[in-house]
Symmetry: none
DNA sequence: CGTGAAGTGGGGAATTGTGGTGAATTGTGG
DNA sequence: CCACAATTCACCACAATTCCCCACTTCACG
């Protein structure tokens, strides 16, 4: 999605307790429903937003987190075409959803298609949001990460 | 100490509570539980984070330590794919856990698989975190260290 | 030995994952 | 504008898993 400004800068650091962590596998039923990991459901009680991720996955934000991003994007100058395109790409692909009583959401078909998700998905915690991946695509992404994690970390000058 | 021998912790000076030192062997039961060495449990009361290590092991951090690393990573721009990958590799492999009343944690299956851990593990103190190794892999790693300690130190360009 | 702490295993209760059924809602054609 | 089919929604039910607590055994130390 090209270079879309300093969106990251507005994300306030999350505490360890409400950080999204881990990797969880779920089935998707014929209705397109997928369960959100039980330990995260409270964060999404008041609503959530799903949207296209920059990579081939679906991102899931709690409402407050999404609001912050939205505010940042709407504050960009609409005179620039890149701003307008970013705005479209962000909002047009996004859906405001709610958990059902079992803690599931219905993922819109367009997003499922984009992410290549059929009947089995992996939900991944990435600090301040969740990502939903097709099982195979996630395996591929993960193997890339495994190979390159050390180099990437070194390049980013971050030490674990 | 029975079959949970304390192998290397001979020189550990009392009163150095903020440093993890030593090498301890534990069994892992069918539920994937492993005991944290009793002397370190206080550091982990109130939570801990386990994650994939860069080598074939699991790393265990107290919350404050983990928070510091998370902050470094979230300060990177998510507009870059390498940053997103590092973020994923870090957070997706991590789990926020708590000790049960016996001082054990349940290691998620994905991490056990990654580290090749089945029914017996070695817990190693590495200054500001613990590492959990499969017994055999740890033996191999240790023999490498034993043989090449001098070269390794030199390659790391550290003067002791 | 007696006592306490640590390592290990197990069992019952609560939670979670998952599929389904009937009511409400939407869209479409007459 | 109405009727009817198709879809969506909200809730129910059950199997499987996970969680939490208790119990036993071994070892260290008086």
């Amino acid at each position: 999605m090209g270079n879309c400004g300093e969106l990251w800068a507005l994300w306030e650091p999350r505490g360890v307790w409400d950080m999204f962590l881990g990797e969880y596998e779920y089935n998707i039923d014929q209705k397109g429903r997928v369960a959100i990991p039980a330990r995260f459901r409270d964060e999404f009680r008041g609503g959530l937003v799903v949207a296209r991720g920059y990579d081939r996955c679906i991102v899931v934000y709690p409402l407050p987190e999404w609001q912050r991003m939205a505010d940042k994007i709407t504050s960009l100058p609409l005179t620039r075409q890149t701003s307008r395109r970013l705005s479209r790409a962000t909002f047009a692909s996004a859906y405001n959803l709610e958990l059902d009583r079992q803690g599931r959401v219905i993922i819109p078909a367009s997003l499922r298609d984009y992410a290549g998700i059929r009947d089995s998905a992996v939900i991944v915690g990435v600090h301040n949001c969740l990502e939903i991946w097709d099982k195979d695509l996630w395996a591929a992404e993960k193997s890339i990460m495994t190979e390159q994690a050390a180099e990437i970390a070194e390049a980013a000058e971050v030490a674990l």
